[in-house]
Symmetry: C2
Subunit: 245 residues, 2 copies
DNA sequence: CGCGGATTTGAATAGTATCAATACAGGTGG
DNA sequence: CCACCTGTATTGATACTATTCAAATCCGCG
């Protein structure tokens, strides 16, 4: 097991071209990697784009690679034998996709919107985790964040009304889609929903019809403004927040 | 930062008395610690017992220690301002209680049944994590397990009927309370529910009345036998499993 | 412009919550 | 040891929310 010499004084030109403008290098797991490690890893990486609905990683199917979400939204979902489906998480850039130390993921990862990912082989990443303890630390941090989010959503699924669920979803998207958005800001925010009504219903544990009715209700109450289908604008984020229960 | 010399050839007598019969040392996070580390950590540990309902760690309140669950069941819950509550997780021995790297937990940990914990200061444990990378690895493993469980439960909360929810809960308890139980076993299993109907309702996102009705229904259908209130026996675990959706 | 899938709207129904009353379990004191 | 008492659990009647099934409308796109 080699010692990894840490050198911070390396210019940007030593960083792989792929990584230079990547969000994951700053806020994601790659942030703890040295230029040398980035270069080594980048030898095995490939970028790919996924159209909405395209399955990225199947349920209980062997997973041989990890991927950073670079653009778009990925939905993680679970299904019952009879087809009932539940979206159990959404991944935004620069989140990491992949279940460490497990040969098969028990969730399905699917592109919700148009998605761009940066993929690297499972083995390459896991051996890097052994060399650079900071990387494992970062993975732990992200996993803890995901756990917090999952538990927040359990409260939504178990205890909120349909109306509160829809408001919570819109609030979640509003605060995650626009990186510039200051959560304390009360000004108008506008965004494109990264998924269709059916996916939203599966995320909220509701039917499409109920989601649609609640969106209509929020619109007539002037909490949101649906410009056209997926285009939503929120005049006052606090007012929306107050509808989340 | 000192190097930790690994010596495996140390007899049991070097292990702190507290740890000798502790489940956490075998299956829990303490399993990766060397006898020296165990001894060092045990200087700061204390055992405590909690009666049902006793709050172990409060929501958004500073957390200064971790704890291993040694006996009993701890429930983790979240609450809305208006009092609606959702249980977001159950901890059994030898699970670790505590949110790494965060000053305040956003969930409330409360003894569901009578609980015994082994507590150690946050700082002692976290500095040990820095020295022994295996410990952080173990924490990551447990966090990933919790995330899997949280997502499983999201499917239950979002997509299952009241009847399936209650069956799922009973199945979960049946397979977690009796460590001897082989899940593939079809023989009769009997156990004591570690919590009251109100807690069960908060775990399932239902009301007490609905939980009660569904238990009654499962009983009349001979799927379970309620000996007395908390004492449940399951003649055929597969039959119960089939009711989980 | 017209087609097809997505979304919204409508009416009837089912499932769960709510409110109220009763029954039960388990502990206490006579 | 039994009667009582208190909190927990069950049962009942009704209200209400969300689902289901069906139809209409909208949106994006060729």
């Amino acid at each position: 097991m080699g010692e990894s010499a840490l050198r911070k004084d390396i210019s940007n030109s030593d960083i792989p071209a792929l990584c230079v403008s990547c969000e994951a290098r700053h806020k994601g797991v790659c942030g703890v990697l040295t230029p040398e490690e980035l270069t080594a890893l980048s030898k095995h990486t490939s970028k790919s784009t996924h159209t909405p609905g395209r399955e990225i990683v199947g349920e209980t199917q062997p997973v041989t690679s990890y991927a950073n979400v670079m653009r778009g939204v990925v939905k993680l979902s679970k299904m019952l034998e009879d087809g009932r489906q539940q979206v159990v998480g959404l991944k935004f850039a620069p989140d990491l996709l992949g279940r460490p130390f497990s040969q098969n993921s028990d969730v399905t990862a699917e592109a919700a919107s148009e998605v761009e990912t940066c993929n690297f082989p499972k083995v390459a990443f896991e051996s890097l985790m052994k060399e650079n303890v900071g990387l494992e630390h970062r993975v732990l941090q992200q996993t803890l964040k995901e756990l917090d989010e999952a538990r927040d959503w359990m409260l939504t699924l178990g205890r909120k009304t349909a109306s509160e669920k829809v408001a919570s979803f819109l609030y979640l998207i509003a605060t995650h889609m626009d990186p510039e958005l200051d959560v304390l800001e009360t000004g108008t925010t506008q965004f494109t929903l990264p998924m269709n009504r059916s996916d939203i219903a599966d995320f909220l544990g509701l039917t499409v019809e109920t989601v649609s009715r609640q969106i209509t209700k929020l619109r007539t109450e002037k909490i949101i403004d649906v410009v056209v289908n997926r285009q939503v604008s929120v005049p006052n984020l606090h007012a929306l927040r107050n509808r989340c229960g």
